[in-house]
Amino acid sequence: MKPLRKFAQSLTDGRGFDILLVAVPLAFLLALSGLPLVYNVLMSFQEVDMFSLGSVVRPFVGFANYTALFEQPETWPIFANTAIFVSASIAGQFLIGFGLALFFWVNFPGASWLRGLFLVSWVMPGLVVGAIWNWMLSGDFGVINFLLRESGIISGNIFWRSDPAYALWAVILANIWLGTSFNMILLSVGLSAIPADLYEAAELDGANLWQRFYTITLPMMRSSIGAVVSLGLIFTLQQFDLFAAITSGGPNNASNVAQYWAWDLSFKQYDFARGATISVIMILFVMLASVVYVRSTRQEVRG
């Protein structure tokens, strides 16, 4: 009886409470993220079809799913597309987002209102955004072609969704629009945390605008930028709605990316094992990226 009471007591005051605080979220994480992750990895080493979906014990095939995947001619182009999609989306979202954040930081009248309005794009569901971009990017009647044509930039229509040279960029364009405001808000928060006296002192010392930006703003923003970029990586790697709504990965896989392909294999062709295999490869990439992120922010001093 005594140890039990001791345990109960430690729950209200002492280490037991600390352990409880850690254990609950940990159990939550394990059940809702850990298990599916392990299940996914397991599935990538098994032969899975629709009728063995319900059981965990299935024929083990070793790396057969992986070798078969890399024997498919479309595999490397799709992974290359994924890399282009992720880097171009993040670059676009970040540069425009940072530009807007700096712009609103000037704090002209109405700046905070306008900044709030920008968030509308982030609030919209991806499928709705995709459907609207789908119309705007339409080759024959799309408003983007209309604007480009009227302003004399192009002479013939560009078939954004159906020309293999443009299809991926059409989705990137939509994704940059979708993610810019989120970048802007996070970076705005980072900017407002920089003490104003730093700039005052630098100005007194005669630092020009560019020097102030390069030696004060950027270093002070390091952790914000790291967070934004790594979140951007996660968001772009899970961007699915836009592909489904705009190009469906076509034409001829020209705009197909790993995450859409994994879904297509699993739920359109019912090849769950191969879908899981692609997911595992994606997980490895995300882990690699997070290691880089953690290392890049490690030497930071945090208050």
Binding site: M50, D140, S248, P251
Partner: protein
């Protein structure tokens, strides 16, 4: 409320759940679970309710499933022992379930039935429920594709609207004459999308030219894909045909931005209200005069899961559904998969004329497959279409590659 009280309340609530469950078992009625994608204005939803009202001892639980989820939900349910009694399944997926014994063999029941008769059905739909000479379902409805054309535009360009294109060459030359980029008119609208829709539209062309999904790189199939490529290369159809489904493509026909369109009877209601011109329908053009006709075959089948505990009642439900086939078009605008039913006149002359053509086209409609791995075969065909139409491969090379993938599936 203190925490203890709260927990007590929770425990009481939990205890009440099984009690409720027990009380409903008392009656002698059985429950049939029916899954379908039909919404309240469509057949299955209403038929299920009518059957529920008609049979005092059978309770029907209807569940609406979205199109994209039908197969994955059914797979999950079957593999975990939770399958419904009856399901409506898209016809190319039928063999996947039938070949694995997931669907009940209905051959003997159909042979004895006075309502469901094999000979009343079109050959295409019937073939889609057949696996190894046994019947594993009953066609629910059917559709096919044919050629819509704008007779006003035909007249304006000096073509005879009473002599629509009959062959591929005539189709191409008509499309060239009708094509009018200056006024935003394409010759033809169709769908070469990288989805089942693309296969659905392309396969009839292959079949008319003597090929099939098993021989996708046959000479005729290469010719078919070359015609498609000509349509794209000469901009006789919108380049967006590559990423646009049939519904959106035909929308451009309705708005007067395409002079012809390949699509199915599901367009009739929308076209009647939207298209402000003289539109007509003709059979799908063939490779050369006298060539074998063919067309696509779409829509869903009814099937009974082999795990059902009430096969007799489930079959009675299918019999009831089939007995209502004659009202299907009038009530819901869908075509019954049966040749013994004459569709009632709608009073709309254009629609009635179109329906006659579709009824004739249906006699040539062929099921996709049936093959348990249809989705993979279809994907290989879609990839070939897209590779050829984007100019990344020649039609011959693209179809050779598809053949290799299909051979691997066929084994």
């Amino acid at each position: 409320m203190s925490i203890r009280m709260f927990l007590m309340a929770g425990a009481v609530a939990l205890a009440a759940i099984p009690a409720l469950g027990v009380s409903s078992v008392g009656a002698e009625e059985i429950t049939l679970r029916i899954w379908s994608l039909d919404k309240p204005e469509q057949p299955a939803w209403n038929l299920a309710r009518e059957f529920d009202d008609k049979e005092p001892n059978i309770k029907v639980e209807y569940r609406l499933i979205q199109f994209d989820d039908v197969v994955s939900e059914a797979m999950r349910a079957y593999s975990t022992g939770q399958a419904p009694d009856i399901i409506a399944i898209d016809n190319p997926e039928h063999a996947l379930f039938a070949s694995r014994g997931a669907f009940l063999d209905l051959t003997d029941r159909i042979a004895k039935s006075s309502v469901i008769r094999k000979e009343n059905y079109f050959p295409g739909p019937l073939n889609s429920v057949t696996w190894k000479d046994k019947l594993y379902g009953v066609p629910k409805a059917t559709n096919t594709i044919a050629l819509y054309y704008n007779a006003d535009m035909f007249r304006a360009k000096g073509l005879d609207p009473d002599k629509p294109p009959q062959t591929w060459d005539e189709l191409l030359s008509a499309a060239r004459k009708l094509n009018d980029p200056a006024s935003n008119v394409y010759g033809l609208a169709f769908s070469a999308k990288a989805s089942e829709e693309g296969t659905f539209q392309f396969l009839p062309w292959v079949q008319m030219a003597g090929g099939s999904y098993r021989h996708i790189n046959s000479e005729g199939a290469v010719k078919a894909l070359t015609v498609w490529k000509t349509l794209m290369d000469e901009k006789l159809a919108s380049p967006d045909s590559l990423t646009r489904g049939q519904w959106d493509s035909t929308g451009t026909f309705n708005s007067g931005n395409a002079a012809m369109a390949i699509s199915g009877p599901w367009e009739l209601n929308r076209m009647s209200s939207e298209a402000k011109f003289d539109w007509r329908v003709t059979l799908l053009p063939v490779p050369q005069p006298g060539a074998e006709r063919s067309s696509a075959m779409g829509d869903f089948n009814w099937a009974i899961f082999s795990s059902t505990k009430h096969p007799a009642e489930a079959f009675r439900a299918l019999e009831y559904f089939a007995s209502q086939d004659d009202k299907m078009f009038a009530k819901y605008g869908q075509l019954p998969a049966r040749s013994d039913i004459t569709l009632p006149a709608t009073g709309d002359a254009r629609k009635d004329a179109a329906l006659k053509v579709f009824q004739e086209q249906l006699t040539f409609a062929q099921a996709r497959g049936p093959h348990p791995q249809w989705s993979k075969i279809s994907k290989a065909i879609q990839d070939a279409i897209q590779a050829a139409l984007t100019g990344q491969m020649s039609p011959k090379d693209a179809l050779d590659q598809a053949q290799k993938k299909i051979d691997a599936v066929l084994g």
